[in-house]
């Protein structure tokens, strides 16, 4: 494997090996650029993954201390574990379900399209759908997204069948199982899906795309990547000309190291990325590195989520097969008449019994609750993924009095949901209940997602520097060789799951970096 010296200041250093970091790395390496990647978690082999929800949770989840505050479910039910992200090579692409949808054209212009929304800090993206389109194409081909570019569709399972038929009966027409980064048949050195039903637990056979099994080996094959796992970036260093010069990190033995760098890309997911920039504050950057606007850590968004489960007289066995096998897109657009800005997707989604018990009704107990769980074999499930309004006060900040194992202040994630989130959930539950009743459901239950799986906005891109942290390429408004390469860049969440957009933005960023390097501007 390639090795670079700690004092080699010609390398690009990338923090994080998830969707964002590994996608930048892959493109840079293929353009001939040397990359050192620091990843806090270990490099696992897919054979080590567990087909057991509890064991997989222990194995993969980022369990370093965090706190939550505000009115969101995590602050109430999981105040020490407000996010569901992964600490391992591959990042949260080990957990992810592979749903890969493009943002809609108008979702790049939420402020213009929805108008000013009281209590929200909306801005338009400094980037259009047309500008990103070629990168969406590249990302879909690279990730092997089903039903796109001539790739076959994955087979549909029982849970999808229920949602599909119910949705048809209530008049929905845009229902599809296309757009999933799971192999229908062998492709790209990885096998076709065996419908095992453990997509969230890593996929032991690698039918599901993850950076662990795809982008990282592809980048390593160029001979340009050195991946250092179990290496936690603690601080970025800079000089008095506002250039980043290196990264201080704790290696796998807990020793502090300094890797010099020509350029740094940060992709630690939307809590760790701003946290690292806060921890890199200096006398020149007293409020965090590159935080002249004061927007660092702010405008934190999840998607507005909800779960709906219905019980039928005949078996469904929702756990068999792809965890999220397809979705309804009829509510994805913006329609001011519904009482909320933006739209949502209705995604067929299954949970195993241990997880369902926790999310059906967080804090739940009693005869009624137990009786519904006992219907497991007869349940179908759906997940809402909807646009969430950004708010300035929803933010990642540091709790200086509480330190993690590296001696760094732990992050607090504050969310006071915009009232539109609850309106959207109400709309979703009414629609999904109607869908399931149309195919004979005898009972419907609203479930709650607790920890956030999609994280965005904390270093948002903006046309005007005072409104965000980075430009449309993810480059810091202040520091020319500092890039943010993950979902932290998003100015708005859109209704679609974020990862395809993270990957497309990362590829665009890498092209931009490579072009500037060739022109010797970086």
């Amino acid at each position: 494997m390639k090795r670079f010296a700690l004092d080699d200041d010609s390398v690009v250093v990338i923090v994080g090996s998830g969707a964002g970091g590994a996608s930048v790395a892959r493109t840079l390496c293929r353009r001939g650029i040397d990359v050192v990647m620091l990843e806090a978690g270990p490099r696992l082999s897919p054979a080590q993954f567990h087909q057991d929800e509890n064991a997989a949770f222990q194995q993969l989840t980022w369990l370093d201390r965090r706190r939550a505050s505000g009115n969101w479910a995590a602050a109430r039910f999981a105040p020490q574990l407000p996010l569901l992200t992964v600490k391992a090579v591959g990042g949260s692409t080990l957990h992810w379900n592979g749903l890969s949808y493009r943002l809609q054209e108008h979702e790049f212009r939420p402020l213009s399209h929805y108008g000013r929304v009281a209590g929200a800090s909306l801005i338009d993206w400094p980037l259009s759908a047309a500008e990103l389109a070629p990168y969406y194409d590249r990302a879909e081909k690279q990730m092997g997204v089903s039903g796109r570019h001539g790739l076959p569709l994955t087979a549909t399972n029982n849970n999808y069948k229920v949602l599909y038929n119910g949705a048809r009966r209530v008049g929905y027409r845009r229902i599809s199982n296309a757009g999933i980064a799971i192999n229908a048949g062998p492709r790209d050195g990885r096998p076709g899906c065996l419908q095992m039903g453990f997509c969230n637990q890593g996929c032991k056979i690698s039918a599901k795309w993850s950076t662990l099994v795809a982008s990282i080996p592809e980048a390593e094959a160029t001979g340009k990547l050195e991946l250092r796992d179990q290496c936690m970036a603690l601080q970025l260093e800079h000089n008095d000309r506002d250039r980043v010069t290196g990264v201080i990190y704790a290696d796998r033995h807990g020793r502090r190291q300094r890797q010099r760098a020509r350029l740094v890309c940060v992709a630690g997911n939307a809590v760790e990325t701003p946290r690292l920039l806060f921890n890199s504050a200096s006398s020149r950057h007293p409020h965090g590195l590159g935080n002249d606007s004061g927007e660092l850590g702010r405008n934190y968004m999840r998607h507005t989520m909800a779960l709906g489960f219905a019980s039928f007289d005949k078996p469904v066995n929702m756990h068999r097969g792809i965890t999220t096998p397809g979705a309804v897109f009829d509510e994805a657009g913006h329609d001011g008449g519904r009482g909320f800005a933006g739209g949502y997707l209705i995604q067929a989604a299954s949970l195993g019994l241990p997880t369902l018990a926790g999310l059906l009704q967080p804090g739940g107990w009693g005869a009624d609750y137990a009786a519904f769980l006992a219907r497991y074999k007869y349940l179908a499930g759906a997940l809402m993924n909807g646009e969430e309004m950004p708010r300035r006060e929803n933010r990642v900040s540091l709790l200086d009095a509480h330190k993690d194992q590296y001696g760094l202040p732990i992050p607090n994630v504050h969310v006071d949901e915009h009232p539109m989130s609850e309106s959207m959930r109400g709309h979703f539950h009414r629609r999904v209940q109607a869908i399931y009743q149309a195919v004979g459901a005898s009972e419907y239950r609203a479930g709650t997602t607790v920890a956030a799986a999609h994280n965005m906005g904390t270093c948002r891109m903006s046309a005007r520097p005072e409104q965000g942290v980075v430009d449309s390429y993810g480059c810091s408004h202040r520091i020319g060789n500092l890039f943010v390469s993950d979902g932290s860049q998003f100015p708005s969440s859109g209704a679609e799951n974020p990862t395809l957009t993270i990957v497309a933005l990362a590829m665009r960023q890498a092209d931009h970096i490579a072009a500037k390097m060739i022109r010797r501007e970086l």
């Binding site: 087909q51 057991d52 929800e53 509890n54 949808y101 493009r102 569709l153 087979a155 549909t156 399972n157 029982n158 069948k161 229920v162 599909y164 038929n165 027409r173 845009r174 229902i175 599809s176 199982n177 296309a178 757009g179 899906c193 065996l194 419908q195 095992m196 039903g197 453990f198 032991k204 056979i205 005949k314 078996p315 469904v316 066995n317 756990h319 068999r320 097969g321 397809g326 979705a327 897109f329 994805a332 195993g352 019994l353 241990p354 369902l356 018990a357 926790g358 804090g363 107990w365 009693g366 005869a367 137990a370 769980l373 006992a374 219907r375 497991y376 074999k377 007869y378 195919v439 679609e496």
Partner: protein, 175 residues
């Protein structure tokens, strides 16, 4: 509603599960032997067992299924803070006056639980009971969750698409 007789049987099962009814111990079904010093008193244990039964009542489950639950709860006692919380909480269930909680009528028991459901001890016991019960493969088997699937080749040839009471989905554009 479960009869008193069934309820007493369930309590007994839970005591058994906690290992408190050692073989040969001369105890009546309703009065288990004294708990080991480090664990809960007999009385506390009976309250705990009654609590678990009220939290997640499943007529289909028997002693073996509840064994894990009680064992998981007794493991919490190893932590001094949790131990204090649990012991104080069980006393709090009874409250100041009147009949002890576990001897009250079902509706009264539930009303009391409802009052206390946001208490830390309650949430601790509820959470760990839930985790233990619904992570138990024996409980899965009863309710149709099939667990690990790789060793059987996933569900590709085993019914991922066997639902026959609705038509096959069509292929549509979606996004």
């Amino acid at each position: 509603m479960r009869s008193m007789h069934k309820r007493r049987r369930l309590l007994l099962k839970l005591m058994l599960a906690a290992g408190l009814l050692a073989a040969g111990a001369a105890v009546s079904p309703a009065v288990p032997a004294a708990a080991p010093a480090a664990a809960l008193t007999r009385d506390q244990l009976r309250t705990l067992a009654a609590l678990v039964a009220d939290l997640f009542p499943h007529a289909a489950l028997d002693q073996s299924h509840y064994q894990n639950v009680v064992a998981a709860l007794t493991r919490l006692l190893g932590d001094a803070g949790q131990r204090r919380l649990i012991i104080a909480g069980l006393a709090q269930l009874d409250g100041a006056a009147g009949r002890r909680w576990r001897e009250r009528a079902p509706a009264q028991r539930l009303a009391r639980l409802k009052q206390l459901e946001s208490a830390a001890f309650f949430q601790l016991l509820r959470y760990h009971s839930m985790q233990a019960l619904y992570s138990d493969p024996a409980v899965w088997a009863l309710y149709g969750y099939q667990g690990e699937s790789l060793s059987k080749g996933g569900y590709l040839q085993r019914g991922f698409n066997d639902l026959d009471w609705l038509p096959e989905p069509g292929v549509e554009a979606g996004q």
